[in-house]
Amino acid sequence: MKKVSLLLLVLLGLQTQAQITTNADTVCANAIGEQYFVTNTPGSTYQWNVGGASGAVLQSNGTNTTTIDWGGISGLYLDAITVTETSAEGCPGEPVTLDVFILSPTANNIGPFCPGNPLTALTGNPVGGTWSGTGVTGNNFNPNIGQGNYILTYDIGGCTTTINVIVNNGPITGPIQHF
């Protein structure tokens, strides 16, 4: 029984590791070593091709898996990955393709701020991501966090970009004196 449970755990682990990829797939700009696969048929060989996406480099070929280094220019690349299976008898199948969207998020700089400044909206592109960092509340930055240089991170689909936000000290004014 213990062995069965262990096997189930292992299988469950493998299942969660291999994600079913929707078309188009999304990768981060300049991603290295991204692994792709098709279901293996014993005896078959597989010819992979990567095209269209500027800077993309195919790192391996021949088997049902491949590794790709992606370039840095964002955008949607149709049929970016193609794989053609050849059966054990030497007969080629129909090519299977995958579109790829290379994601390179950007964010607008804000600041510098002074104490007492109001909450300021944080803007990331493409929209829909999440912000994190000191002073972040939802999609806003609160300058009243205090003086400092803060690094805020914008994350969308696992791809990130950062901005530096400076909050200066306010002037320290002494009491009013009478000459």
């Binding site: 994600q19 990829t21 991204e34 692994q35 792709y36 696969f37 794989v83 080629p92 299977v96 995958l98």
Partner: protein, 189 residues
């Protein structure tokens, strides 16, 4: 009414005696369909050859589609009470009088009059094996048998045309079945 009856009788008579081969049968083992590498045993039987106008059976030709290879003949046809001679397996033979290009198959070698066939009228049975060639395309796997008598081969000029164009007997008319190559979608780890 009498005229109509005469017409029907004439049509019936021409149909009945327009060829020398009847009731041919065949078997394929294993039965279709076939993939590359399959080896098939074929058996063909002509129960009776009716030699109209003293036409004699002269050759049995095997017609194969381009998808077959490795044709291997079995035992020769029977000639129990026929003319002196023997059945000879031949991949190709051109009959000198008619220039008929024969083969592959069995042809009768009449040792008395080489231009003639045998007067034996059956039954004739042949077996052979063929193999489906390796391929990636649905190649033709047709199998048929053509019976030639000595009117067709040119050795007998008194045949009068009765058997000079016997139709081929179609044993099989399929193509190579190719196992589908189904590649899954591309997944990203």
């Amino acid at each position: 009414m009498k005229n109509l009856l005469i017409i029907i009788l004439v049509v019936f008579t021409n149909t009945l005696y327009s060829q020398c081969v009847f009731n041919e049968t065949s078997t394929l083992t294993p039965p279709p369909v076939y993939e590359p590498g399959d080896i098939v045993q074929v058996s063909y039987t002509l129960p009776t050859f009716i030699g109209i106008n003293i036409n004699w059976i002269h050759a049995i030709q095997i017609n194969l589609g381009a998808g077959w290879i490795n044709l291997t003949p079995g035992a020769p046809p029977n000639n129990t009470i026929g003319s002196a001679g023997n059945w000879l397996w031949d991949n190709q033979h051109t009959y000198p009088v008619s220039n008929l290009d024969f083969g592959p198959g069995w042809r009768f070698v009449n040792i008395t009059t080489p231009e003639w066939g045998t007067f034996f009228n059956g039954p004739f049975n042949i077996t052979f094996t063929v193999e489906v060639a390796e391929t990636c395309t649905p190649d033709d796997l047709s199998i048929s048998i053509s019976i030639f008598d000595d009117c067709e081969t040119g050795g007998w000029t008194g045949g009068g045309g009765g058997c000079c164009n016997d139709p081929s007997f179609q044993i099989y008319n399929g193509v190579v079945q190719l196992p589908p190559i189904i590649t899954s979608s591309i997944y990203h780890y």
